[in-house]
């Protein structure tokens, strides 16, 4: 299958390794991956802040870049969920709305794309360590990503998946929420990280670079030995 990779702006700029790993994983699953360097961002930061006009222009660019793709895959549930909201953004422009609906329909988050669309769970990965999983909110509640990453991780040789009680608790990032209300944002995350004292893991993994950025920043501040990793990085390990 021909896959147009949406690296996401955070992936592109902050965690290129995770995006490279995404390419590796998709290729191992038999996809022909292309990366269109005209791509930028999905527009979510402005959209979530109420600046829909500004978000709409960025979304328009996204639709220009990806309009003709066969399938679009992003290593992020949150950015994928945003693309799924494009029709709302263009509710007053019927033509664009229709185009947005078509694109939304063929835009997938990595784990669900592998498991639901390609029916692949075993990617021949090897990774030694105890891994806790963070169910990122938008993937979990807007796209229904729950079992898919677990199915993928369960096939990784040497990996011990440790279920955390707080796996579905929000990390507190929330885009600009994290800098407008840093104290609440961090207190929310601490509730999650406090569980690490009772649940020993080596790696806290997720499929969203945004949550991982928030979690990593706090783990480092707390001096925790726990590392963060993107799902793709684990699946690409051999």
């Amino acid at each position: 299958m021909n896959v147009a990779l949406f690296a996401t702006c955070l992936g592109d700029q902050l965690s290129p390794d995770a995006v490279h790993a995404t390419v590796t994983v998709l290729e191992r699953a038999g996809c022909n991956v292309t990366f269109d360097p005209r791509q930028t961002c999905c527009g979510q930061p402005a959209f979530n802040s109420g600046f829909w006009q500004e978000a709409r222009e960025v979304a328009r660019h996204f639709l220009d870049v990806f309009g003709d793709a066969e399938a679009i895959v992003a290593p992020s549930g949150s950015c994928t969920a945003m693309v799924h909201r494009f029709p709302d953004l263009f509710r007053d422009e019927p033509e664009m709305r229709e185009r947005a609906e078509q694109v939304a329909h063929k835009t997938f988050e990595l784990a669900t794309f592998l498991v639901r669309e390609l029916k692949v769970t075993d990617l021949g990965a090897k990774f030694a360590g105890r891994v806790g999983w963070h169910d990122a909110c938008h993937g979990l509640r807007e796209l229904g990503v729950k079992q898919e990453p677990r199915q993928l991780l369960s096939k990784v040789e040497g990996l011990e998946l440790v279920e955390m009680k707080t796996c579905e608790s929000c990390c507190g990032f929330g885009g600009t929420f994290s800098v407008k209300t840093p104290e609440i944002s961090t207190a929310m995350l601490d509730h999650k990280l406090d569980e690490l004292a009772m649940t020993p893991i080596d790696v806290l993994a997720a499929v969203d670079s945004s949550c991982l950025m928030q979690i990593r920043g706090r783990l480092e501040r707390r001096g925790s030995p726990v590392r963060t990793m993107h799902l793709a990085e684990i699946l690409a390990s051999q």
Binding site: H20, C137, R141, F173, E183
Partner: protein
């Protein structure tokens, strides 16, 4: 907590939230209580095989009712009057308070009792009655504790959720002069004794309404303490304050809502008491001659009819006030209800308050969320709270066509305009990210510039990769092809 209970304001959300975060006792009380309610809720709904179907059914009933709210509320009023109740229409809080105050004054009622009601909190009825020397005694245990403490409720179902039993024990020692105790049973016994006395002497009882049935004119009130029973039956006059969106078309609809509400709110299969009250005729005619001589129903609009005709926001009115979204919300769990500075806190408060009070009165609330969606998951009537929050954010920033945008600062607008300009063109995107890389070499700048300084106050700053994916991808491709 910032200021006195009555000086809190939704627009002071940030300061109030930061105060709440400093309070270790509050943190513990909140976490324990919200976790407990969430666990009980899960256990209660696990026992219902058709939970999803129930939610869908309830939502359909609510949508159909709100779509013809004028019809159903008039039908309700007609039937309530036929059954012997007197119906009053209140456009806003002021009118509603005036109606209740006049009812009390005309009857010379001085000793008032009241059961728990968010609608009366919304209109600040106690304050209005107190100004005429008729402050009602709250009879719900939690509400009574709050009243004794001179506080306001911090949860719509569990008003004293922010208080520990130690704090309540101390309050009783201070205000009632009881011997020191923190035993819930002992404290409840003291409360019961005091409250019985108030019930016996009361000449007017005020209640809220959970559901009003249009086809019969009946009202249903749910409770666990028996205080609603006494408030609505012992005094000669009963006044019920009902938001107009509480109406449901048919008596049979109660069946579905009775299965949803207690399970979602407190995790009970059913509340201990369910009072269905239909006018006064039945009471007068019954052999016992029990019940109040007069029943008044105050139908409160206070912004609801405006929401009912707002196509994108009208699902707000489907809310049955169960409080499940508060218990599930990680923001509410962290800061509690008082931080919101509004009568309705948590996710439902964040969408309801800006609509009832006006966006200018609750600017921060639609933004007081990470849009995690936990509220939507637990809502028994499937209100899409995250989408409504997004809609309100858009209106706050871009206006709603009628009012000037409440939250559109020049600097913020400029920032997003620039952001959009850079982000919708790959060349400009590259330029902006190159600039950010340069900025990253200046740690001092990073730690003092507003958004990054805020991040750095609690977390290490993320580092931009030395080379972006797009810069390394082409190279990697070339190598693998060459």
């Amino acid at each position: 907590m910032t200021g006195t209970p009555h000086s809190r304001h939704a627009n002071a959300f940030h300061a109030q939230a930061n105060d709440a975060l400093q309070d270790a006792t509050l943190k513990k009380a909140l976490r324990n209580a919200t976790d407990l309610f969430a666990e009980r809720r899960s256990a209660a709904i696990d026992a219902v095989p058709d939970w999803e179907a129930l939610r869908d059914h309830a939502r359909k009933v609510k949508d159909a009712t709100v779509a013809r709210l004028d019809h159903y509320i008039e039908q309700f009023a007609d039937n309530a009057e036929k059954a012997g109740a007197t119906v009053h229409w209140a456009r806003d809080a002021k009118e509603a308070c005036a109606i209740v105050t006049k009812l009390a004054e005309d009857r010379g009622a001085k000793r008032l009792v009241k059961s728990k009601s968010m609608a009366t909190e919304e209109i600040h009825l106690n304050k209005a009655l107190a100004e005429r020397a008729r402050e009602p005694v709250e009879t719900d245990l939690g509400e009574w504790i709050i009243q004794l403490a001179g506080e306001t409720p911090s949860h719509i179902i569990v008003p004293a959720i922010h208080m520990t039993r130690d704090a309540i024990g101390q309050l009783f020692v201070d205000k009632l002069g009881i011997p020191p105790s923190n035993e819930p049973k002992t404290l409840a016994a003291h409360a019961r004794k005091r409250l019985r006395d108030h019930f016996a002497k009361a000449d007017l009882g005020i209640s809220g309404v959970n559901f009003g049935v249009a086809e019969t004119g009946s009202i249903l009130i749910l409770e666990n303490e028996g205080n609603v029973r006494m408030t609505t039956s012992m005094p000669k006059v009963h006044v019920a304050v009902m938001g107009i969106e509480r109406v449901i078309p048919r008596f049979a609809d109660l069946e579905v809502f009775l299965r949803l509400l207690p399970r979602s709110g407190t995790g009970q299969h059913l509340t201990t008491y369910q009072s269905i009250l239909t006018g006064t005729d039945n009471q007068a005619k019954s052999a016992m001659g029990q019940g109040p001589e007069e029943m008044h129903i105050v139908l409160l609009d206070n912004g609801r009819s405006k929401i009912a005709v707002d196509e994108k926001m009208r699902e707000t009115l489907a809310c049955i006030r169960c409080g499940a979204c508060l218990n599930a919300c990680p923001v509410y769990q962290t800061i509690g209800g008082h931080a919101y500075g509004s009568v309705y806190p948590g996710p439902i408060g964040a969408i309801l308050t800006p609509q009832l009070a006006g966006m200018h009165e609750a600017k921060p609330l639609p933004f007081a969320s990470t849009l995690c969606g936990a509220c939507k998951d637990v809502c028994p009537v499937k209100i899409d709270i995250p989408s409504l929050l997004l809609e309100l954010r858009q209106r706050a920033v871009e206006g709603d066509g009628k009012q000037a945008p409440a939250k559109r600062g020049f600097f913020e607008l400029l920032t997003w305009r620039m952001w959009s300009w850079f982000m919708r063109n790959p060349t400009r995107y590259r330029f902006a990210t190159a600039l950010a890389r340069l900025g990253q070499r200046l740690p001092l700048l990073q730690k003092t510039m507003p958004p990054m300084a805020a991040w750095h106050s609690t977390r290490e700053l993320p580092k931009l990769a030395k080379k972006s994916f797009r810069d390394t991808y082409r190279k990697a491709k070339k190598e693998s092809n060459g």
